[in-house]
Symmetry: D2
Subunit: 366 residues, 4 copies
């Protein structure tokens, strides 16, 4: 099936391989009249660009985006917006060995099982480089949501065992350190941890949090297209994500109803919640409070330590993976999580427009 | 949008409210020639039927299923299979109060925000009774998968703070206790915990695990229709689920690549993995080992303790929820998780058929 | 694949066979707050009910509809509306012969080719009785559109060689004759033609026209989800339809640009067209003038004259089809065409809501 | 909604405007292992390239295609295939007038109604240049189908009032004349007709036929995803198509059942049909005989004769459309029809794979 299309109303269709000609995305369903230029997109792409930190792959890519269609006189036209990032640094490399064996933690074996064949250069379509297209498309979703006052912010919550201190949380810190942590006091420990792993030829996992602010109540479609269900799919579809939580997540398992229920209250004009254990979603529909999503990211599978594995000839071998790899992908994945959340929320905001007759009459009554 | 349809190739379209005429599902895309009768479905429905345990709602429902279409001479015809369970026990009840206020932890406020209106009788469409249709549809998916040798087993992993001892795991125990726990030694503590909560008018959360065995390698579609992404959506779409893990889940965050990578090995004829931290899915595609999913379930929001909330007139009030409720939904949700996993796997098994030319030639070569 | 689901935003999922327990439809995506009761639907069903005319099958079916979900206190709730018509007259009949051979013009052979198996009782799912569900679902779409002032009217344009005289067109005549012709002066000739065919054990084709009035300009999505493209699919999906025209249809082939272009003009406040060769759709989008669709219907394949055919044992045989059949299906198909057009227009009216930022701001600006 | 995506299993997502940077398509769902190179696609693109005939626009475009992803070592990988044709001849032109008024027969008014805004350069997304992407994507579908022995051939059946003589039909003639007519004896009359219209500053409509040969029986999904329904949508979605026929099309309206039914017969080993009035599709499913589709094409709306119209300021004006236009688009649209038919058939061939258990067991039995 066509697995590279995401969304129902606001859709993206992505393409490209790690060492192919480029990476691209076609955004279809973006409403007409949204102001958009290449800078809006480039700002997001720069946040996941490699070669910027001691903890990211040194691959040199400017990741310059070009808008090929769908924007006219500075505004979206309502028709497909095609974005492309041409690959620059396709360093010639001998991939003949990778072609023959299955790297642990990588999708080599599963792609071969599915397709009987794979583009083995830098993991091909299964490379993290694929997420460039998600970020480019997500940048447009974010721009659309910002027009409605909805903001989305992701950050690094944990690097291996080092978690941020929520009491030190400062949203402005996120972009100030290589690790995209909102707590400046945790950065040094995390960097030391990573430096040691890098020296050992090893890698680290971590946790990313994402918050959606100012979303109206009512977004999400019962019973299968719930907002949380689609967020879970969107974020789990990012390579390396192995766990998802909404609101209090796994902590709810040990809670009682009395502890977990969020009481409503009113100031006489509007309804609010006293707590937000639910993470802003009840019955699959936004309740107007902040949406909170957490994702667990596995350690980068590419490590320089020798590993045992098997090859296509069914021989057991020891391998040494060379090349330019991230000892951690969490900091670069922060903007990817943000993008997937933005794409999901934008899609469901558009879907919700036809939920009730009063909306329809508001737009069509003549 | 139409949120009550799930799946691409093997689809279900569900309908029905808690206190309406019934609950139903239309299964479309089930291949022709599968042997199917009402007993196949009833067996699954009986596992989620209310009124069977001291820890479930005493609502009396036989939940008898009828096949209305799509089966002829004991086999599926390839056309839609319509299943219905008529509601029997629509105990007349005064819902006028519930209509006016917003119960904490329930979807009352979000439904009103979305639709400006809701069927307030027993939560209407937002009731857990909706999952009857998932189980009925899932029973067919399970039958299809069993024909291919693929089995799916879910069980209670935790009730509040009481988790099973994996060393005591016995799959045959699951159906022998009210709580669907595979470890008989943990049942008593869990029952005691629940009995106390029930007495207190409170409720408990918990954790459900699900294992898929004997799935072929190659199932799942990169990059958005990944098997784990769709499983996350499927299970997160069940009301009350707040967290999802695949394989080692959140534990990967603190692991290193060296610890987390699953080494491949061969016996000279086939490829295996030495460990299964990945939970059977790499790059969104099954690797042939067991698939492992874990879901966190929030405590039932309906508790008999008085709670603070607001009503439609923006007044702050104290409420006392009456009626027949489960102090825990985990045991009854076990078969619901199993069903959603079965629906997802069946869908993706069918989708994968066209992944490579050799498959197409195998079916069409004349 | 799941072929029994239609629509993107306003969807129907239909089920049921000619001689099964019933026929049904689940409507998902209907906005909340639409007033709806069983009479709204029954009125439409009565227009396609058998047993009402000398030219329709004498099968006796009341075709009484029941709403099983999705309507509360007289209004739609925004969740799935399940409708069912139970089959009453499943006259026991010996179908053993039909099971073994392939009736000319029927789907027996193609169903067997596809599924290796079929429900042969009264054509099973391939029966015209399947359209009951389209009409039930279409009735809700029509109700929704009427709320916006959009009306849809279909009628018989031709019965075999007898076409109506457009100068005698009177919309009020349509429901006054068995043939649903808007020109009372053509009815007698058509009835005589049919009476003769019936006597001969033969059947007739015909043409149905459908007009959509008062649709706003701007409905339809370039480039594949054009309004005319979706109307063509919707109407062509009705069994027996073999041709579709929009506006002047095949006549455009012999026209010049000068003749075919519709000139715009203005009264100083609005834009109009002087002619409507386009049938209300330009570039796949409605232009605000009447939409005109025409469909060619093949003669009923069930005729009582002996026919040559082959059977499953690859023998050439002569058959005599018995049973209760329509010598023409055109009059009963009129409301089916109307329903499919309504479903398509309703779906695309909802889809169009997110076409531009000004619409989004109108609904979400806070 | 996202109207630029077509297909369920074999999908295309197209983008690009007439005078933008280029035109492109992302093909997703093409099975892995299909041999493919740029020449396969270029051959099809050359058939619709402008500037090759006295009856086509003199716009000079090489329409050179580049494969940007999805092909490795000469074979498809199963992941998205991105194709791009960069626009070369974006002749600078003053479009300020076109921006202000509504050309008759063009989508100017409907785009403005929908989006409140349009890219007015050469009709933007509503230009026939958009079909470049359909042809590029269709070339891959054709290659896939050819591997299964299925061929698709379209040709010009009529230019204005001049129709081909079916007795003179020679498939080899199609590519030998500018008009893509399979009857060499009709070409001169058609060319004379067009030459006169061109001199008059006028344009012509016409008819295109398309035949699918060697398709297996069983392709198509009841009841809404019928093969003919999807073909109708696919072909009607091409700009300028106003009518569609399958098999005998509108001629069935005046036929009797006895005349129209196609009798089956057997040679003792297989089933055949004596006639093919149905055009190869019964009950929405292919019957193994040739599929026949016919499309009516309206005359090019861009004519050099002065026309009356209105502008955005609601003034009635006379306009003179300048620029490079086709006096007929039928010959260049032949390969577009072929492409849309190929895309539809490829999609439904893949969809059909899961129709029955025996297929599933054939691929998955281990």
């Amino acid at each position: 099936m066509a697995g590279s299309i995401f969304g129902n109303m606001f859709t993206i269709s992505t393409w490209g391989e790690s060492h192919g000609k480029g990476i691209g995305v076609v955004v279809d369903g973006c409403p007409a009249g949204l102001e958009l230029n290449e800078t809006d997109i480039q700002i997001c792409l720069n946040r996941r660009r490699p070669g910027q930190s001691p903890f990211a792959t040194p691959r040199q890519e400017a990741d310059e985006v070009e808008i090929l269609s769908g924007v006219f006189e500075g505004k979206t036209t309502g028709t497909p917006i095609s974005l492309v990032v041409f690959n620059k640094d396709q360093r010639s490399h001998d991939y003949s060995q990778i072609a023959s064996y299955y790297r642990p933690g990588h999708a080599d074996y599963t792609y071969d099982s599915k397709y009987s064949f794979r583009d083995y250069r830098g993991s091909g379509r299964a490379s993290g480089r694929e997420t460039t297209a998600r970020v480019a498309g997500g940048a447009i979703a974010k721009k659309l949501l910002e027009t409605l006052g909805i903001t989305i912010t992701a950050y690094t919550y944990a690097i291996g065992p080092i978690t941020i201190d929520m009491n030190q949380f400062d949203v402005n810190e996120i972009s100030k350190n290589f690790l995209n942590m909102p707590d400046s006091t945790s950065v040094q420990a995390a960097e030391d941890y990573l430096a040691q792993l890098k020296e050992d030829g090893n890698s680290s996992g971590g946790i990313i949090d994402c918050v959606v602010k100012n979303i109206p109540a009512g977004i999400g479609e019962p019973v299968f297209e719930k907002l949380d269900a689609n967020l879970a799919k969107a974020v789990m579809s990012i390579g390396s994500v192995k766990g998802i939580e909404i609101g209090d997540g796994f902590k709810v398992a040990t809670k009682t109803g009395l502890e977990n229920n969020d009481a409503y209250y009113s100031d006489g004009e509007k309804i609010y919640k006293k707590t937000n254990h639910a993470g802003g979603i009840v019955g699959g529909i936004s309740d107007g409070s902040d949406i909170f999503i957490r994702a667990a990211i596995k350690p980068t599978p590419s490590i320089s330590t020798p590993q045992q594995t098997a090859n296509k000839s069914f021989e057991n071998i020891e391998i040494n993976i060379e090349g330019r790899h991230d000892p951690i992908i969490v900091p670069r994945a922060v903007v990817v999580v943000e993008s997937m959340v933005a794409l999901t929320v934008a899609d469901m905001v558009l879907m919700n427009m036809s939920s009730k007759m009063e909306n329809i009459l508001k737009l069509y009554n003549r």
